[in-house]
């Protein structure tokens, strides 16, 4: 009896640890950002007010609450710069995710169809770029895409005149697709690899040729992988900062860059925080969809 009780306390503690972690390092920081987004910027340390003064007791809390306002959100709504940034981010993320799907699906399909021994090697090759720092790989693209870079020289060999690639939308898409491809390929590969060969045989047996079976059986069954890969790419791409900053030009201002500018260049923490909160709200939809899909998939398998 006593043993069972200690065990249940132990079990509860184990469950509590991840929750405590999430509260301390996710929920609390989120609330702090929410609070800053409701403050005003001032030239001080910290660069915003009101600051919660607990030593003043109830009066301090009342003053603090009275000082909060939604002015920063009004600023975001009032200036088209912010709306344009959000829309640009969503556009880049949507188009990149579509490109990633189109490129990643055949790769994952070929991997899943490869002989068993080769599959492990192929998975290794997909993961291989992670051995080099992400930043260095994006820098490498600068060298490839610059005016007299590898790309233009290669084009020159086939008689195409060199063009500026760097600081264009194309460069941003190249960088994003290159960087996020493993995150699309791996979940797709995982679902395609699990696909029971007998299902394709059953389709053939029932009068459905192999090519047609791809559309009637393989594709619908790989949808969870496509959704997982899509959200795994879409969500971080919306907030992407490094790639558009290094490869993009002034016409590609994504929300991550706007946020960075507000925070570091303008030292306007409250507006930067408001941008972050709005971004979070925009992304809650897809994240919830992802979670829903994952749970349903897990339930179906159990």
């Amino acid at each position: 009896m006593a043993g069972r009780e200690t065990q249940s306390i132990g079990t509860r503690l184990v469950v509590l640890v991840p929750y405590a972690w999430l509260v301390a390092f996710f929920l609390v920081p989120c609330l702090i950002i929410l609070k800053i987004s409701l403050s005003q910027t001032v030239l001080a340390q910290p660069p915003y007010e009101p600051v919660l003064d607990l030593s003043a007791g109830w009066a301090g809390i009342r003053d603090f609450l009275a000082g909060l306002s939604a002015d920063n959100y009004a600023t975001l709504a009032g200036d088209t710069l912010y709306l344009a940034s959000y829309l640009k981010s969503l556009e880049v993320a949507a188009l990149s995710t579509a490109l990633l799907l189109v490129i990643g699906y055949p790769v994952a399909y070929a991997m899943a169809r490869a002989p068993g021994r080769i599959q492990a090697v192929l998975v290794m090759l997909v993961i291989l770029p992670f051995w080099t720092s992400f930043l260095i790989r994006v820098y490498a693209w600068i060298i490839i895409l610059q005016g007299d870079g590898l790309f233009n020289r290669a084009l020159g060999l086939v008689g195409i005149a060199p063009r500026p690639w760097l600081a264009t939308d194309t460069a941003v898409y190249i960088g994003i697709v290159y960087s996020y491809l493993p995150f699309m390929v791996l979940p797709l590969y995982a679902t395609l690899q699990k696909l029971d060969e007998a299902l394709l045989e059953a389709a053939a047996d029932l009068g459905c040729p192999r090519r047609k079976a791809f559309w009637t059986v393989t594709l619908p069954l790989s949808l969870p992988g496509a959704v997982a890969g899509g959200l795994l790419c879409f969500i971080p791409i919306v907030g992407e900062f490094v790639i558009p900053d290094l490869l993009g030009g002034s016409q590609t201002i994504m929300i991550g860059q706007t946020l960075w500018t507000e925070f570091f260049a303008n030292r306007d923490w409250p507006v930067a925080s408001a941008i972050a909160i709005v971004l979070l709200c925009v992304l809650v939809g897809p994240i919830a969809a992802f979670e829903h899909m994952r749970l349903r998939d897990a339930r179906r398998r159990s």
Binding site: A198, E201, A202, A204, D205, L206, G207, C208, L221, R300
Partner: protein
């Protein structure tokens, strides 16, 4: 209806199916039986078109199937894993084959309803496979395979995933269904009781070859070889030398015993042979019997509906004797260590030379 002509299928060095010739008649319920790895599933997959013969050919309804892909063959298969499409409902699974034929929607719906009542799945059309029990899934797979009215239905271990009670029931349902539809059924199974229960005729396979093709009763009572006798059911195998053949009865000399059995044509005096004797054909007596042997009860195995005695003969050989159990265990007249006599009618045993 299905005809294999000298069909061979190799995987590297392994010969899965070795020059098999076999004719399965229209309307027949035919079973392919054998231990795992004997090539029975490969034979079925050759008929379905998932495998291609390295030599020989497969004919279905008189037509050469060489080069005909699975989706153009007039056969349908029920898979061991059922292979139900998880993204489709029960009705969607059953309709899958009909949709490939571009059948009008109304016709598909009525055919699906017909099949669902045939396999007693009424009202479950909207469920997904993962919401069904094992027995229900099995029936969906069966309905799906029957939907296109195939000339031949191929069943790959269709009942292996069911528990014993459900399996016994389903065996009779399958027989009934086959009689009702008149379709040729070819079933692959490793369960000899299942094969004998459902099949009109069966083939026993061993290492890629057909060991015997006959009715279940013939295979049990007149096995063609020592291997078949040993594989099907329980058997006593007594080795000896044929001493004499007289009026169709051969006398086998084995370890000082003189045993008599009907002499098949290929038995020759002076040659070695094996007497295959089913345990349930042997009778136990307390007094010496003409043509009988004496022995001592070594062991008694209680099986509920029967009792299996292991009897040591004077020669040191051991015979298994199975007696239907009609009393209580405590009332058995024979105990361990008792001296008893065994006898059997002369036609009970089968003399085998190979």
């Amino acid at each position: 209806m299905v005809r294999f002509e000298g069909v061979t299928r190799r995987y590297g060095d392994v010969i899965a199916v070795d020059c098999v010739s076999l004719d399965i008649a229209a309307g027949e319920f035919f079973a392919l039986l054998g231990p795992s790895g004997c090539g029975k599933t490969t034979l079925l997959r050759l008929a379905a078109g998932f495998e291609h013969p390295d030599a020989g050919r497969v004919l279905i309804d008189g037509e050469d199937m060489t080069g005909v892909p699975p989706y153009r063959r007039p056969v349908n298969m029920m898979f061991q894993s059922y292979a139900l499409f998880p993204h489709l409902t029960v009705a969607g699974n059953i309709a899958f084959g009909l949709r490939q034929e571009k059948m009008p929607r109304k016709a598909i719906d009525s055919r699906v309803d017909e099949l669902m009542s045939l396999v007693r799945l009424e009202g479950l059309g909207g469920r997904r496979p993962h919401q069904l029990s094992g027995g229900q899934r099995q029936r969906v797979a069966l309905a799906r395979a029957l939907a296109k009215r195939p000339k031949v239905l191929l069943l790959d271990e269709p009942l292996a995933a069911l528990d014993k009670k459900l399996r016994d029931e389903t065996q009779f349902e399958l027989t009934k269904l086959q009689e009702q539809l008149g379709t040729t059924f070819v079933i692959v199974t490793h369960d000899q009781q299942e094969a004998m229960t459902v099949a009109h005729r069966m083939a026993v396979m061993d290492r890629g070859r057909l060991a015997q093709v006959a009715t279940p009763a013939e295979i049990y009572e007149q096995p063609a070889s020592r291997w078949v006798a040993d594989f099907i059911g329980d058997v006593n195998l007594i080795e000896g030398v044929v001493e004499a053949i007289d009026a169709g009865l051969a006398t086998l000399a084995a370890d000082g015993l003189r045993l008599r059995a009907p002499a098949p044509d290929n038995v020759v005096t002076g040659r070695r042979a094996v007497l295959a004797l089913r345990p349930e054909r042997i009778r136990i007596a307390m007094a010496p019997q003409p043509d009988g042997v004496a022995g001592t009860v070594k062991d008694i195995g209680y099986r509920g509906d029967s009792v299996l005695y292991r009897v040591a003969l004077a020669s040191g050989a051991e015979l298994k004797v199975s007696v239907a159990h009609r009393t209580r265990l405590a009332d058995l007249p024979v105990g361990r260590g008792d001296r008893i006599f065994l006898a059997w009618p002369p036609d009970a045993g089968v003399l085998l030379t190979q």
